[in-house]
Symmetry: C2
Subunit: 215 residues, 2 copies
DNA sequence: TTCATTTTTTACCGTTTCGCACAAAAAGTT
DNA sequence: AACTTTTTGTGCGAAACGGTAAAAAATGAA
């Protein structure tokens, strides 16, 4: 049994929601352009407290990325669990992603694009940990989409084929993030994602989800 | 008539190829993580000379972006001028982009992705000039692709439709840049781009280029 | 040679950066 | 009340940052 009541001076901040604040600073300014003073001001803490709780600036950034990836996956998984059929599910997922990218989600209130796609690439070549983190985000997206396609097609689509479609969808999603970061209109991005899903999935319609659409 | 022979001490560097070197430093490290000392070392010049010739760090970066966009457009335009039919042309363009992104082009020797897509997004929210530059790059890509589709379809595709397809292709292209920056395999990326083009364009095959494929 | 002009070079300025001592403060424990 | 433990606040310090002033060097013109 560990101690239930801690010994020393109590913290005046919640670690989880402080990490949320840290994440938002990185989300807005990227890694290199973010200073610890900015983070200190945004969280109301001073640098030694931050360092004690989260480690170095790099540690904070990687923890923010992982946290973002978790939130993002939950957000999209939730959005993709209502409609029926790959096409409709993917449209919902893309629309939810655009909401998140353009600040209509609860994660942040501004049009920041995807934290990982917006901030990791510029750092990826000077620190292999960042490049690896970026690769992990991509892989997570690929496998998530591929699983959705495989599960929904009930064996009508081979695994290699599903992986390919999943990567096509991921390519489009990351392109959407770039455009959101450039300040493009949310509704326009949603229309764009919807038509892209139609083109990328409807070609496989006969093999995928005719059952769902003509029950 | 202006003076043909300049008056003062002659420069010991060529402005054009020096800007190429500057561009490569930004391409590798991004904007914020690049220091003027790094640029000075890469070019063999010292900071005052750089400042006199190219202005501030921000000026150098924006000039690098514009230069890259010009080079990129020429590179892709050239690649898309050999085959016949939208599908084949777009595949060639995508393959040429992957070559450029993975260091097989003459512009650089390493897998850096797209300079604009890799480095501008992380800075776009703190400086509206950077966000504007990003938007310009996207617009240039969109209109370039749309023009190719319109020209190749000979009136069989309405302009709004062509714009939409062009944006789909641009979304995919930017996704490819992210993946190149993450270090993914060039051949894998080319296969991915080829199948994506097939899916995005073959749906319009009857309206687009049946003539070209069944002459 | 002497002067005017332009570039290079050296050196510096004020700021900001990140990480970390060090001591004060706030709690539980004895 | 005295001690232990943990966090907070102040502040340092060595380095890096972007930008520029001032001097030295290299050319053409007079």
């Amino acid at each position: 049994m560990k101690t239930l009541t801690k010994r020393g001076r109590p913290r005046k901040f919640d670690e989880e929601q402080t990490l949320d604040l840290i994440m938002q600073v990185f989300w807005q300014h990227g890694y290199s352009a973010t200073s610890l003073d900015q983070i200190a001001e945004a969280t109301g803490l001073n640098r030694p407290s931050l360092y004690a709780a989260f480690g170095t600036k790099k540690d904070m950034f990687l923890k923010s990325i992982e946290r973002f990836a978790d939130r993002m996956e939950a957000h999209l998984r939730d959005a993709g669990s209502r409609a029926t059929g790959v096409n409709a599910r993917m449209k919902d997922i893309m629309a939810a992603a655009v909401d998140l990218y353009t600040g209509k989600s609860d994660l942040t209130g501004a049009a920041h694009g995807c934290l990982a796609i917006s901030t990791l690439p510029s750092e990826a070549l000077q620190d292999s940990d960042f490049q690896l983190a970026l690769g992990n985000v991509l892989l997570r997206m690929d496998t998530g989409f591929a699983r959705l396609i495989l599960r929904e097609s009930k064996g009508a689509v081979r695994e290699a084929h599903a992986k390919e479609i999943a990567q096509h969808l991921a390519l489009v999603l990351h392109g959407l993030s770039i455009r959101a970061r450039a300040g493009e209109n949310p509704e326009k991005l949603k229309r764009l994602s919807s038509s892209a899903v139609d083109r990328l999935i409807s070609a496989q319609a006969s093999a995928l989800s005719d059952d769902d659409r003509h029950p």
